[in-house]
């Protein structure tokens, strides 16, 4: 049958595992296609299964669970384009969906990661021209009733085009056909610009039709270009960028439960309660509440975790069970028995490096008693096998030749624990990031290097010793820096879970930007919400508010921070286990379009203030012009401020609703009303608001004319130069980060090139800093609307709770140890230690390391003339062996 994991591009059997890295990696029977279950024939699997695991009589069981709350995260279904006749999906194998194209590119996919035409896999014919069609099943109420924007397709199409070029041996022509390029996320615009530089073509157009030309064997695309001319172009392959929608199952689940949905069947949420459903105790996250990308889904997932457990705080630890790990085997006195596992990483390593040769080579290295090759050493089934092999062969040192220890060492350490070995007895050889990927044009040299790297890792593994950790208590309270909507939400989330919070705000009032905003995209009044939030924070006895205060210095580490907070001339030390940085951002002051020179020119927040207070200028305006991307998406600030398209359109609608006669003009580059915000854009057009697209090299020109300003711009469709006399010119000014230099230095956290705090991983750890115990949220991370700031605040709280709810944390492991026999008491190591982790024992006149403060840098070891300190896990014996084996075969 068609394999759904490979989007029907491959085949699977009626008894199957969904994919090679599946968790759990167990076969299951597809009852709709099993011959035995449907026709009573076959029964082969029962006969051949050596462990008698097949049970044809297994039936659906109903289980009743009594739980405190529920989180719904059933995700999305990719839009099925076979409903759309004009795209000919299903009529030619080279017209694929975007999910299908992911499988084409994937090493575990039906084509093994080779970019060849699905119509001609036999001859391995590579495509020379690929087109992507955006908004298939999105922003389309006529053909499919999905009026919303799916939010993620622009970015994945850009990524796929870059990847496709990367996969192709010959120059590949990639063209993306789009209406608005919606790359509003963090660093997305940079990637988009880079793709343009790499030659990806971006064509602003809605495609009329795609059909196969059976005579020539290629695909023909008909579209209207920007100047209104009908164009026909041939392509070898067409990728349909299908949108996200709610599946029938999810719809049924929600309606059965009685949960309110919006017009597109997403769960209806409030901007101020982004993860709550209409049913108390039931929360939701991910695409079920609206189309969104992975980082946003991950943030909401953590946010839902915080919301779902808030009312259950009293029952914390009442139902959890302790994890049992096998007793650690004492390997002291055993001679090294090294197991080497060489990973193919799909084709990432195996496609370049001769993995069988490297494995064979490893077999003869000193101490090696077992060698194995894996398709993915990191997959769950290989982990299970590793545990078995370690026990069976009595291995006591492990070498993993695969990717980088920076991402995967922890995983393999866990596996060692499961196998009853000390987790520090594993060493990785980085034959992917630092070998196959960087020498992909020189496979032989890459293989030679892989051999050397494995030999060096084996030499070190030979000398690895077990390391031990000890426990330190956690200070179960939090510090939140920033008292805007985000900071206050985070503080309340933590205090309601039972943990005291110190909230530091540099201004004399709480509220931040929330005080300046008028309404959300869903028309909720922000000021009402902020006032309520402030009073809740002020009334909360567990939240200690420090106004007019700032952080001056930070000492300590996760679970045990000591921070100096200055209030005026006073300063105090706050002890806390975690810190959340929510220092926000601000609307910039534009340096162009007569801002600050003419009263008619204002920013969106200036306009919000006039809406809130009431203003004669607003009431009487005959012509209003909005200019988007003021100071954003240019050479100097190459990022999108994300919120301004929605903010401007919402304000434009307010003018039209007040007086339908008002002329409202919006000059934009790409309209980025992602997700359900697209309905606002549609409403604006229906109301007669006029939209004109402009480019960076043809920006609008503003000239003062008495009590109004004249805005001149070009209409692309008509090719005419137009001018509007505007009573109000509203500028969508760039959102810029606050200056976090001092705070960043105090906490030793970094910001990116644009000044936004840098998270540990853009996709999977969007609210964690790289340093344990520190979290970021709100606009300090990137510009975002109120609902996303609240999600992220709750997410940061949830992540912080994973530390605060622990009684102790482990310290030790890779730390320095000073051999008192060798220490002359010179104090040189005390001098060089940046973390004040070494002190002199006054009685014995030798230096001593504090494990909790030691960061494991090893500076002491390098300084000491008598080699008294050594960095555990990186001692001289191990390093010398690595150096020697790097050079000697």
């Amino acid at each position: 049958m068609d394999d759904e994991y490979n989007e029907g591009l491959g085949k699977r059997k009626a008894i199957y595992v969904p994919y090679s890295q599946a968790v759990p990696l167990k076969y299951s029977i597809d009852p709709d296609n099993c011959l035995y279950l449907t026709k009573g024939r076959c029964g082969t699997c029962e006969k051949v299964c050596p462990s008698h695991a097949i049970n044809y009589l297994d039936q659906k069981k109903e289980i009743t669970l009594n739980v405190g709350s529920v989180v719904l995260s059933t995700g999305f279904k990719s839009f099925d384009p076979s409903k759309l006749d004009h795209l000919s999906f299903g009529q030619h194998p080279d017209i694929v969906t975007s999910m299908g194209f992911e499988r084409v590119l994937s090493a575990t996919g039906p084509q093994g990661g080779h970019l060849v035409l699905p119509s001609d896999k036999k001859h391995k014919k590579e495509p020379k021209k690929i087109a992507w069609l955006q908004c298939v099943g999105s922003r389309d109420e006529n053909r499919c009733n999905n009026g919303y924007c799916s939010s993620v397709c622009c970015m994945y199409a850009v990524k796929q085009s870059v990847m496709a070029k990367d996969h192709s041996k010959e120059p590949l022509d990639c063209a993306i056909f789009y209406m608005d390029m919606r790359t509003q996320g963090k660093d997305f615009d940079r990637y988009y610009e880079k793709a343009k530089d790499n030659g990806v073509r971006f064509v602003r157009s809605r495609v009329h039709s795609v059909y196969p030309d059976h005579d020539k064997g290629n695909l023909v695309m008909g579209y209207v270009d920007e100047l209104g001319a009908m164009v026909k172009e041939n392509f070898d392959m067409v990728v349909l960028s299908t949108g996200l929608e709610i599946s029938a199952d999810s719809f049924e689940l929600a309606t059965t439960m009685g949960i309110e949905l919006d017009r597109s069947n997403f769960i209806k949420t409030d901007s101020f309660k982004p993860v709550s459903t209409s049913m108390p105790g039931v929360y939701a996250c991910g695409v079920f509440t609206g189309p969104k990308d992975i980082p946003q889904s991950v943030m909401e997932a953590s946010a839902a975790a915080s919301a779902a457990t808030e009312n259950l705080a009293l029952a914390r630890n009442s139902k959890t069970r302790a994890v049992t790990t096998p007793r650690e085997r004492d390997v002291a006195g055993e001679s090294p028995r090294i197991g080497v596992f060489v990973c193919n990483c799909g084709t990432n390593i195996g496609g370049i490096v001769d993995v069988p040769a490297v494995a064979e080579y490893a077999r003869h290295l000193p101490g090696v008693v077992y060698v194995e090759e894996n398709l993915f050493t990191c997959s769950q089934d290989t982990q299970d096998k590793l545990v078995e092999v370690i026990k069976e062969k009595g291995l006591n040192r492990i070498v993993i030749a695969a990717c980088t220890p920076k991402t995967h060492e922890d995983l393999f350490r866990e596996t060692l624990i499961d196998a009853g070995l000390n987790k520090y007895l594993v060493e990785m050889a980085n034959i992917r990031n630092q070998d196959s990927w960087v020498h992909s044009n020189e496979p032989e040299l890459a293989t030679a290097k892989a051999r050397d790297l494995v030999r060096m890792a084996v030499a070190k593994a030979f000398r690895l010793e077990p390391l031990f950790e000890s426990q330190l208590p956690v200070t179960q309270s939090a510090l939140v820096v920033g008292g805007g909507i985000t900071g206050m939400t985070a503080a309340l989330s933590l205090s309601r879970q039972g943990y005291p919070v110190t909230l530091v705000e540099q201004n004399q009032t709480l509220g931040g930007n929330g005080r300046l905003l008028y309404k959300t995209s869903k028309n909720e009044e922000v000021s009402l919400f902020v006032r309520k939030l402030i009073s809740e924070v002020e009334a909360d006895e567990h939240v200690h508010i420090l106004l007019g205060s700032s952080v001056h210095g930070v000492e300590g580490f996760v679970g045990n921070f000591k921070t100096t907070v200055a209030t005026g001339d006073d300063s105090r030390i706050v002890e806390h286990g975690v810190a959340l940085l929510a220092t926000g951002a601000r609307e910039s002051r534009p340096a162009e379009y007569c801002y600050g020179e003419h009263d008619a020119v204002m920013t969106l927040l200036d306009l919000d203030a006039r809406f809130a207070k009431g203003s004669k200028v607003v009431d009487r305006a005959e012509n209003v012009v909005f200019i988007q991307c003021v100071g954003s998406r240019d050479q100097e600030h190459p990022y999108c401020s994300k919120v301004c398209c929605t903010h401007s359109i919402k304000s434009a609608i307010a003018f039209k609703r007040k007086n339908p006669e008002t002329g409202v003009y919006l000059l934009y580059r790409d309209i980025r009303t992602y997700g359900q915000r697209e309905f606002l854009y549609k409403e604006a057009r229906d109301l007669g608001i006029l939209f004109f697209q402009y480019d960076l090299d043809n920006k609008p020109v503003v000239t003062p004319e008495g009590d109004h300003v004249t805005v001149a711009f070009t209409d692309h469709v008509l090719g005419l130069r137009l001018a509007v006399d505007a009573d109000i010119l509203c500028l969508a000014a760039r959102i810029e980060p606050n200056d976090n230099t001092r705070l960043g230095q105090a906490f030793k956290v970094t910001s990116d090139n644009d000044g936004w705090f840098l998270e540990a991983h853009q996709k999977l750890r969007p609210v964690d800093f790289a340093t344990d115990g520190l979290f970021l949220c709100g606009m300090a991370h990137y510009p975002k609307p109120v609902d996303e700031s609240i999600s992220q605040a709750r997410a940061a709280a949830a992540r912080a709770l994973t530390v605060l709810s622990r009684d102790s944390i482990n310290v030790g492991g890779i730390v320095a140890n000073i051999n008192p026999e060798r220490c002359a008491g010179c104090g040189g190591c005390v001098e060089v230690c940046s973390y004040n982790a070494i002190t002199m024992d006054p009685a014995k006149h030798v230096a001593v390391v504090n494990d909790a403060l030691c960061k494991g840098c090893g500076a002491c070891a390098a300084t000491c003339p008598s080699e008294a300190p050594s960095l555990m896990g990186f001692n001289n014996d191990q390093l010398y062996a690595q150096i020697k084996s790097a050079m000697t075969v």
């Binding site: 989007e7 595992v17 969904p18 994919y19 890295q21 599946a22 990696l25 167990k26 669970l65 009594n66 739980v67 405190g68 709350s69 529920v70 989180v71 995260s73 059933t74 995700g75 990719s78 999910m99 992911e102 499988r103 590119l105 090493a107 990661g113 994945y156 850009v158 997305f188 990637y191 689940l253 309660k273 991910g286 992975i294 889904s297 991950v298 997932a301 953590s302 975790a305 915080s306 919301a307 779902a308 457990t309 009312n311 259950l312 029952a315 914390r316 630890n317 139902k319 997959s379 991402t407 206050m488 989330s493 309601r496 991983h761 853009q762 996709k763 992540r799 709770l801 994973t802 709810s805």
Partner: protein
């Protein structure tokens, strides 16, 4: 901020998460790691959801696994 007025006097220490994609897994992990028992319910034979089908992801081009 949202607050459920029906704060239970005798709350349960467990949560059910429906859907084992990247969002469901993250939610389940955070809930479990802050001291609650989680039932993660998934319709298909494996967790991982749609992200497991993706090849590489922006911006690091790491494999989605």
């Amino acid at each position: 901020m949202e607050r459920n007025d029906l704060t239970p006097t005798d709350p349960k220490g467990s949560v059910m998460v429906v859907g084992g994609g990247v969002a469901g897994m993250q939610s389940a992990l955070d809930i479990a790691n802050s001291g609650f028992y989680v039932y993660l319910v998934e319709k298909s034979p494996a967790i991982g959801g749609k992200m497991a089908q993706l090849d590489k992801t922006f911006p690091t081009n790491d494999c989605a696994m």
